[in-house]
């Protein structure tokens, strides 16, 4: 059986958080391939390269985990650009942040982000959230068969360990 690896792209400038993310994928039942970029410009460049290389192989990620606070270009700006780009707008984007502010989260939902996660301070919770989110996305991707998976309701937008449990 061909193992289909889920392509995960992580955009985060924080070394520790990138380490946590990698560690969170250890022992995950779903097979994944993780690519990391460290700032917004790097991210958009990578995506542009991948879009242009599409005639060869589809190397666009299946899901993007996007940190809000990054140097050069932050997550909000990247999200806006991605969703305006016809070739990129179907990419499910999971927003990450250390802090939570209702106005910011509302804006992110309006701009088409798929889920929002406030980085939990407990590592095991962090691991669980990441794994459950990826599982959720994988499920939606296989269910829909098409590239375009719809945005969840605003009530389900913010993922915590509890509500991602109930969704799966």
């Amino acid at each position: 059986m061909k193992v289909v690896k889920l392509n995960i792209l992580l955009a985060d400038d924080d070394t520790d958080d990138c380490l946590f993310f990698e560690e969170a994928l250890i022992g995950f039942q779903i097979s994944t391939h993780l690519t990391t970029v460290n700032d917004g410009e790097q991210l958009m460049q990578l995506l542009a390269d991948e879009v242009n290389a599409q005639n060869n192989l589809p190397v666009l990620p299946d899901v993007l985990f996007l940190d809000i606070n990054m140097p050069r270009k932050n997550g909000k700006e990247c999200l806006a650009e991605i969703k305006l780009n016809n070739k990129l707008k179907y990419l499910p984007v999971i927003m990450f942040s250390t802090s939570y502010e209702k106005e910011v989260v509302d804006k992110l939902y309006k701009h088409g982000a798929h889920y929002f996660i406030r980085k939990p301070p407990e590592f095991l919770v962090f691991k669980k959230v990441i794994q459950q989110t990826i599982a959720l996305i994988a499920q939606e991707l296989t269910k829909n068969r098409s590239v375009n998976i719809s945005q969840p309701k605003r009530d389900d937008f913010v993922l915590t360990v509890q509500n991602s449990l109930t969704s799966t």
């Binding site: 520790d16 946590f20 209702k102 980085k119 301070p121 407990e122």
Partner: protein
């Protein structure tokens, strides 16, 4: 001798015949005269008749004239009486006029004084006008300065908000790392019990700092953001708060009654924060043995000075009450609890930063209102929020 006497008698007869002829002539004359006189008398009688008629007529006329004259005399007497009255009045009027003239002279003198006064006042007025121009220039300058200060203040507030946001965010990140690494270390089974305990204490401290940052951020945003009032459904606010506190409500098996709620003119996001803080406090300070019951009501009331000096009896206020059945507090702390960083318990007993009610008070002030806390130990607490209904 008889011849002589006859001659004498003939002479005498001749004389008498002459006499008689004369007398006949005289008689004829007299008769003619008499006729003439009779004619004349007739004429005279006719004339007299006419004259009499004339006379009677004139008599009548004279009678009429006399009557008229009598009336005229009465009229004249009346007129004379009137004339005397007029004369008397005129005399009084003259005396009055003399008096008025004296008064007029007095007034003229007074007017002269008043005019001098007025001239003086005008001089003073001109001096005041000059001073006023200077004062107005000063005021215009002050207003400019005030405008500049206001603009500077707006910029300062924006900078403060940005600074607060950035600093709180940048403070949170290393904090989170401390917490995360603590959890990674705690998952390590090779740690001794003591080692685990130490890391847990470290975790708790980091958690408190996290809460403090969240509260400070909330506090600064309440103080620096613009105040926009809009008509809001209070039920909706409570539903949102209940959703945010879903886990705690379930944990405490709390019942929140919020059926008697209407709409009010409020700053929605601030008011949500206020209700969140009050309700989360009610949940936090609930009685261990008694399931938490929180009742939230709203109504419109007239200001009552006996409740607070700041309530005007002529104004309508929106009153929102949050009542719980928790552990309450001693009534003499009813004002202290609203001060920043004031807590009534140690941090080991009940968590919290001591900022929650300070935020509530600030929000109430932003709504031009007041908040009153009433409680007794172990008898729950009631928070009454009053703010003008026409905000």
């Amino acid at each position: 001798m008889i011849e002589q006497e006859l001659s004498i008698v003939r002479q005498e007869l001749y004389l008498q015949r002459e006499e008689n002829a004369k007398m006949e002539l005289e008689l004829i004359n007299a008769k003619n005269e008499l006729l003439f006189l009779r004619e004349e008398k007739g004429k005279r009688a006719a004339e007299l008749g006419i004259a009499n008629i004339e006379f009677v007529y004139e008599d009548n006329e004279k009678g009429k004239r006399a009557a008229e004259l009598s009336i005229a005399n009465k009229e004249l007497i009346f007129q004379n009486i009137e004339k005397e009255k007029r004369a008397a009045e005129l005399s009084i009027a003259n005396k009055e006029l003399v008096f008025q003239n004296k008064e007029k002279e007095n007034r003229a003198v007074e007017l002269g004084i008043a005019n001098k006064e007025l001239a003086f006042q005008n001089e003073e007025k001109e001096k005041r006008a000059a001073e006023l121009i200077i004062a107005n220039k000063e005021l215009a300058f002050q207003n400019e300065e005030k405008g500049k200060r206001a603009a500077e203040l707006i910029i300062a507030n924006k900078e403060l908000l940005a600074f607060t946001y950035i600093s709180s965010h940048d403070l949170q990140e290393p904090l989170r790392k401390i917490q995360t690494f603590a959890t990674i270390l705690l998952a390590n089974e090779t740690l001794s019990e003591n080692g685990k305990y130490n890391f847990q204490r470290m975790q708790a401290a980091a958690g408190r700092m996290q809460q403090l940052i969240d509260d400070l951020l909330a506090f600064s945003r309440i103080a620096t953001t613009e105040l926009k009032f809009e008509k809001t459904d209070l039920k909706m606010i409570i539903e949102e708060v209940k959703a945010e506190l879903k886990d705690t409500i379930q944990e405490k098996q709390a019942i929140i009654e919020a059926s008697e709620l209407g709409t009010a003119n409020i700053i929605a996001f601030q008011f949500r924060q206020l209700m969140y803080n009050l309700i989360s406090n009610a949940l936090k300070f609930s009685n261990v043995n008694i399931p938490s019951r929180i009742i939230i009501k709203s109504s419109i009331v007239l200001g009552d000075k006996s409740i607070s000096e700041k309530l005007s009896p002529k104004k309508n206020y929106c009153l929102i009450t949050v009542k719980d059945n928790g552990i309450g507090f001693e009534s003499h702390f009813s004002e202290r609890i609203f001060e920043v960083f004031q807590k009534l318990h140690g941090k080991e007993v009940y968590g919290g930063t001591g900022i929650g009610l300070a935020i509530v008070k600030k929000i109430v002030e932003n709504h031009n209102g007041i908040i009153i806390a009433t409680s007794e130990l172990n008898k729950g607490a009631t928070f009454d929020v009053y703010f003008p209904a026409d905000n």
